[in-house]
């Protein structure tokens, strides 16, 4: 048993003046520059068979002893350290990492990928029909949305398009698989085990691998590796053996640096390359498989990429047999909680394996799975497809409406009503009706009543009639009502739309409403004032004649009686009294009958006046406000259809694939 090595070395720690600076920097990045003299004993079991290759690696340090430190790549890290932690939010000086810092990563809805019915792609790399159409739709979507959304929102979609195009130009024969994981998990060991050669340096110093290394099993992958930005001196070939070559033909394996050490530059490498490779093997070990960084930073955001994800529990040789199963189950549970579909029972999803790169336990199985995976040659397309899915999910809030959007018929009617109110159509109609009736009454009324009314008018100050003149220059339309009407209709039209499009609809409405008031003013003058005298019904002369006859009867009866009283005529009370009574009763009778008869035409006249004004107003409103709004909604519908295509749901057949997305039916052509 090893004796305890309690090292309590109090090195001469001079009080550094730049302590604060040193604190900000990451020690990990700098320490790799230190010259190490000893050669790691570690778990390195492969001999020096890859020596020549390694010498190339160590060109920077000039050492052929195998103890190189890859300094060429790590020098820059010290500079990049200070600020690079910010996006992750783990370098804020707090002891505790709060939930909120990572909450946005978890809230994202998980979307099922739609790709089962797609035939495997054939070489050279060509995307199959559905994926191609989705990419086209995405391109169109980005183009259509550029004026409405800020470029930051569209940046990810643009990047997906760029990467898809870039990948498409390159070899379809190859599948690029990256090995990622925490420091000390044994990425490089697994890499070496798969390659059969000690290509990548392994060791106990943490972190070990500082720069990505690529290994290609067949020729023609140079373009792919160029795309990853891996320089020529870091490219290797596996151990030449016919059997291994046949199995993994077309594989390009990339060994990544760690993602969790204090060396920030490593994390940048990882983040950059993970976005470019076709598939990822995540290497975890029993000690670190539950690290928050791994799950929150990488696995959860990439949950949609389950089909191109392998999760490998390394170092099972350090665990007792049953404990290994336990840990593997726990790992599966964690992955499930991350939202990663597990490829069990033949379902598409992530592959989870336990192995030991040290003892070679389980390597064969991984090799086999990897061989099948590579032979399918579908990984690149699946990855792009998953990227498109992720972009669609990310864009979901700016395209999907919560409920049926569009202008309902009621909203249009309400708008017309409000505009009619603003120009006072109802009041104008009523006024016209009453004026007509008044005229009729005046014409058909008994002369005595007219006399009395004339007297009344003279007694009362004639306020109203004074103002009747000279109001052409006034603002006849109620501005506030127009403003409110436009606001309401814009609100109704944009209700349920995602924010940018709702804004666009509102802007369209407001833009259209400029000058609407003036137009309505003009229109009220044109359509509101009746032309000339109100028309009279055909029975009018008859009524006037009858009223006159009644008056004549009264007068004749009265004169007759008068003549009898004077004695000019023989006394005969019967006939003149009868005449007078007929005249006296008949006069109001005729007037009453006329009033009854005038009701209909008066109402029609008033309604006609109201209708004219109302129609003119609503026509004006439709042309200026509703049509632009409907146009804007139409544009939104177009974009939405593209979005549905991007989401993998075909526009016509239904929208069940994406949760919460409902169809747009009410968006619409203006009601003619």
């Amino acid at each position: 048993m090893t004796a305890v090595t309690a090292v309590t070395d109090h090195t001469d720690h001079a009080d550094q003046p730049g302590d604060d600076d040193a604190r900000k920097k990451d020690p990990g990045g700098e320490i790799v520059r230190k010259e190490r003299s000893g050669r790691e004993a570690g778990h390195k079991e492969k001999g020096d068979s890859g020596r020549g290759a390694r010498e190339a690696t160590e060109a920077g340090s000039g050492g052929g002893t195998g103890s190189g430190s890859g300094s060429a790549d790590s020098v820059g890290s010290a500079d990049a350290v200070g600020s690079a932690d910010a996006p992750g939010g783990w370098d804020d000086g707090l002891i505790a990492r709060r939930v909120s810092a990572t909450a946005e990563g978890q809230a994202r809805p998980v979307q099922e990928t739609v790709m089962d019915n797609r035939p495997p792609a054939v070489a050279p790399l060509a995307y199959d029909g559905p994926l191609r159409s989705r990419l086209d739709a995405l391109r169109e979507l980005v183009g259509l949305s550029r004026t409405r959304l800020d470029s930051r929102t569209l940046a990810e979609a643009g990047q997906v398009l760029d990467e898809a195009a870039a990948r498409r130009r390159l070899s379809g024969q190859h599948t690029v698989v990256a090995i990622a994981g925490a420091t000390g998990s044994g990425k490089s060991q697994l890499f070496n085990a798969l390659a059969g050669v000690a290509i990548s340096e392994t060791g106990v110093r943490r972190p070990t691998t500082a720069a990505p290394i690529a290994c290609s099993w067949s020729d023609g992958a140079a373009g792919l590796i160029d795309r990853l930005g891996i320089p020529g001196r870091l490219r290797r070939r596996p151990l030449q053996s016919a059997e291994a070559e046949a199995q993994l033909r077309g594989l390009v394996l990339v060994d990544l640096p760690d993602h969790d050490s204090a060396a920030v530059q490593h994390r940048e490498h990882v983040d950059r390359i993970l976005a470019l490779v076709d598939a990822v093997i995540w290497v975890v070990d029993p000690e670190k498989y539950a690290d928050a960084v791994l799950h929150e930073r990488y696995l959860r955001p990439m949950a949609g990429h389950a089909e191109v994800t392998f999760v490998v529990l390394n170092q099972v040789d350090r665990l007792p047999r049953d404990a290994a199963d336990q840990v593997l189950d726990d790992l599966r549970r964690l992955l499930d909680e991350d939202g990663i579909a597990l490829g069990e029972y033949g379902e598409p999803g992530a592959t989870v394996l336990a192995l030991s790169a040290l003892t070679g336990d389980g390597i064969g199985e991984l090799r086999e799975v990897l061989g099948h995976f590579v032979a399918e040659r579908g990984a690149a397309a699946r990855r792009i497809s998953a990227d498109v899915d992720a972009a669609a999910v990310r864009l979901w809030p700016v395209y999907a409406n919560r409920r049926q959007a569009g202008l309902s018929e009621e909203a249009r009617d309400e708008f017309a009503d409000r505009l009619a109110d603003a120009v006072g159509a109802t009041a104008a109609g009523e006024a016209a009706e009453r004026a007509w009736r008044r005229n009729a009454n005046r014409a058909c009324g008994t002369p005595w009543l007219r006399l009395w009314r004339w007297y009344q008018d003279r007694r009362e100050p004639a306020t109203g009639r004074l103002s009747v003149r000279a109001y052409d220059d006034e603002e006849a339309t109620a501005r506030q009502r127009v403003e409110q009407a436009v606001r309401t209709v814009a609100e109704q039209a944009s209700d349920g739309l995602p924010a940018p499009w709702a804004q666009a609809v509102r802007e369209a409405a407001v833009r259209g409403s400029q000058g609407l008031c003036e137009a309505l003013d003009e229109l009220a003058v044109r359509a509101g004032t009746p032309v000339g005298r109100p028309p009279r019904p055909g029975w009018w002369p008859a009524a006037v004649l009858a009223q006159a006859a009644m008056t004549v009867l009264q007068v004749v009866g009265g004169l007759w009686l008068l003549a009898q009283i004077i004695g000019l005529m023989s006394p005969n009370l019967g006939v003149p009294v009868l005449l007078m009574v007929i005249g006296i009763v008949g006069g109001p009778g005729v007037e009453w009958a006329c009033r009854l008869a005038a009701n209909g035409p008066a109402r029609r006249y008033g309604a006609e006046a109201e209708r004219r004004l109302r129609e003119a107003a609503s026509g004006c409103g439709r042309a200026r406000v509703l049509d632009p709004v409907a146009g804007e909604l139409l544009r939104y519908r177009e974009v939405r259809e593209q979005f549905l295509r991007v989401s993998g749901v075909t526009g016509g057949t239904g929208v069940t694939g994406v949760t919460g997305v409902t169809g747009v039916t009410g968006v619409g052509a203006s009601a003619g």
């Binding site: 090595t5 309690a6 720690h13 783990w90 106990v204 007792p320 336990q326």
Partner: protein
């Protein structure tokens, strides 16, 4: 050598400061708010769990908190130090969910009370609880601390096995941070595979910032690479300015890791001896305590201003929000006055009624139309102001606070409220008109409703209703008309002001309810300066 003597003034100043910190609130979702909240919680935890109890009772046992990443072997280390299994160790991560405190039986009374870590419920029946804890979701809110006693530990020393600092379980992280805050001695455990991980290094740097007494343990080192890894780690520590921190190395042994067994006593003997020496040697003990306590006190110097500036930022944001509301309503009010002067109310339906008055429409209808039009004008002003506020608030991150912007159903009631106000105005105006008419000594009294309608038209119609004033003067005399118009105008102004003011207050109410004041900033700084003086 620093001494640690208890002075009541210092304690008073510290409690005052603690109350100020506890009172600080950061309700607005500004960029720095989550951090300020976390800072405040941590500061509070440190004051409550460590600084105040430590200064009050310097003779209490030293508390060494074992912290580190998940899977670093903290529980195994504690078990080995104690000599028996007190804390559950295992292969599944995270293992320790309930913190365990181990102390000598005679020290038990120090920890059984609520002297330190008052937020945690004490549990003495460990086994059941450990099993139940993950199963019962209801118990997750109740945080517990298991207390174990072991006479293998020296007196005056207590060990606390904390949950991991980088766990997937967010609650664990928070709890671990809180526990670290309560420590006299921070024992940082890392492993050969982890010593370069970013997360533990943040903790180390925090420990350095607080100038806490710190020990690092490099656990699980395969014996082949002991010297190599140890040297690496030492170099990293020296680079970070922590070169004088005592380092202990524990090798990886078959029984250590995955079975949860105990390490042989020899493996942890140096660490154990060091801890025992700190606890038993009065000088060393004093130094340890004084260093951590004064480190914490010193760290207040930078942390309090940070809190204060966060509080100031909150207040500034609240001011900006209020100013946006005030600006919007003020400008809408000005516009409203202008429109009223211009006679915008006498338009549309009201204008039509007025033109046909008195021949074709009654005074009541005219009055109705005017009141309706006035209500529309007011509602328009209020909605426009709200729209402006929304627009301005959309650019303010602080406006995302819950309850500030989601007020959809109130639009209807705004219409309702304005309608009520305007109708009330009409009623009072009609009463005025009646009074005026009743006071008139005319044989034929004019219709009060007509008088009211004419007054309303004259008030609301602006220039285009000049004839209404003339008509009014004809009916009730020039003096009466003038008087009535003055009274009605004042009434109108009152009612408009009140209506708009009410709406503005209604808009600001949720913001006022958040209670963001300028005082916390000054109070925090003042409390700090009092504390500085007392030291």
């Amino acid at each position: 050598m620093v001494t640690l003597d208890v002075r009541p003034q210092l304690l008073d100043a510290l409690s005052a400061l603690r109350d100020r910190v506890a009172a600080a609130r950061f309700p607005l979702p500004l960029a720095g708010a989550p951090r300020a909240r976390a800072n405040r919680d941590e500061l509070l935890a440190q004051l409550d769990d460590y600084l105040v109890p430590r200064l009050r009772e310097p003779e209490a046992p030293l508390l060494a908190v074992i912290g580190g990443s998940t899977g670093a072997g903290k529980s195994t280390l504690v078990n080995s130090l104690v000599g028996r299994r007190v804390s559950e160790a295992g292969v599944l991560r995270p293992t320790t969910r309930t913190p365990v405190l181990v102390c000598h039986p005679e020290d038990h009374h120090w920890f059984s009370g609520m002297r330190v870590l008052p937020d945690l419920t004490r549990v003495w029946m460990p086994q059941q609880d450990v099993d139940d804890d993950p199963l019962l979701p209801g118990e997750e809110d109740m945080r517990v601390l298991r207390i174990e006693t072991a006479d293998t530990l020296p007196r005056g020393l207590a060990l606390l096995d904390a949950p991991d600092i980088d766990s997937l379980v967010a609650g664990n992280r928070v709890l671990a941070a809180e526990l670290m805050c309560a420590a006299d001695i921070w024992v940082m455990v890392t492993t050969a595979a982890r010593y370069a991980d970013a997360v533990p290094w943040h903790l180390l740097r925090t420990a350095k910032d607080h100038d806490a007494t710190l020990v690092t343990v490099l656990d699980r080192v395969p014996h082949q690479v002991v010297s190599e890894v140890s040297r690496q780690f030492g170099a990293l520590l020296a680079k970070a300015g922590l070169g004088d921190v005592p380092r202990f190395t524990v090798p990886e042994l078959p029984e250590s890791a995955w079975g949860g067994g105990l390490l042989p006593a020899t493996a942890v003997a140096p660490l154990r001896a060091w801890l025992a020496q700190q606890a038993q040697d009065p000088g060393a003990r004093h130094q340890v305590m004084a260093r951590t306590a004064y480190g914490a006190l010193d760290s207040l110097k930078s942390r309090m201003p940070e809190l204060a500036s966060a509080a100031a930022a909150q207040y500034a944001a609240a001011l900006r929000l209020t100013a946006a509301v005030d600006g919007a309503y003020d400008s809408e009010y000005t516009r409203l006055r202008g429109r009223l002067q211009a006679g915008a109310v006498l338009a549309g339906g009201a204008l039509k009624r007025w033109r046909s008055y008195p021949l074709d429409s009654s005074a009541g209808e005219l009055l109705d139309a005017l009141v309706e039009s006035l209500a529309a004008l007011l509602l328009c002003a209020v909605t426009a102001a709200d729209e402006r506020v929304d627009e301005a608030w959309r650019r303010e991150p602080a406006a995302g606070a819950p309850g500030l912007t989601d007020r959809d159903p109130t639009l209807e009631s705004a219409e309702h409220r304005i309608g009520m106000a305007v109708r009330r105005w009409r009623r009072v105006l009609e009463e005025y008109a009646e009074d005026e008419v009743r006071a008139l000594e005319k044989s034929v009294a004019p219709d009060p409703e007509a008088v009211a309608a004419l007054v309303a038209t004259a008030l609301l119609g602006g220039r285009r209703a000049r004839s209404a004033g003339e008509g009014l003067a004809e009916r009730i005399g020039a003096h009466g008309a003038l008087r009535l118009r003055d009274k009605g105008g004042r009434l109108l102004t009152d009612y408009l002001d009140k209506a708009l003011h009410d709406e503005r207050e209604r808009r600001l109410a949720p913001l006022d309810a958040l209670d963001v004041h300028p005082e916390p900033q000054a109070e925090l700084i003042a409390a700090l300066s009092v504390l500085q003086k007392e030291r």
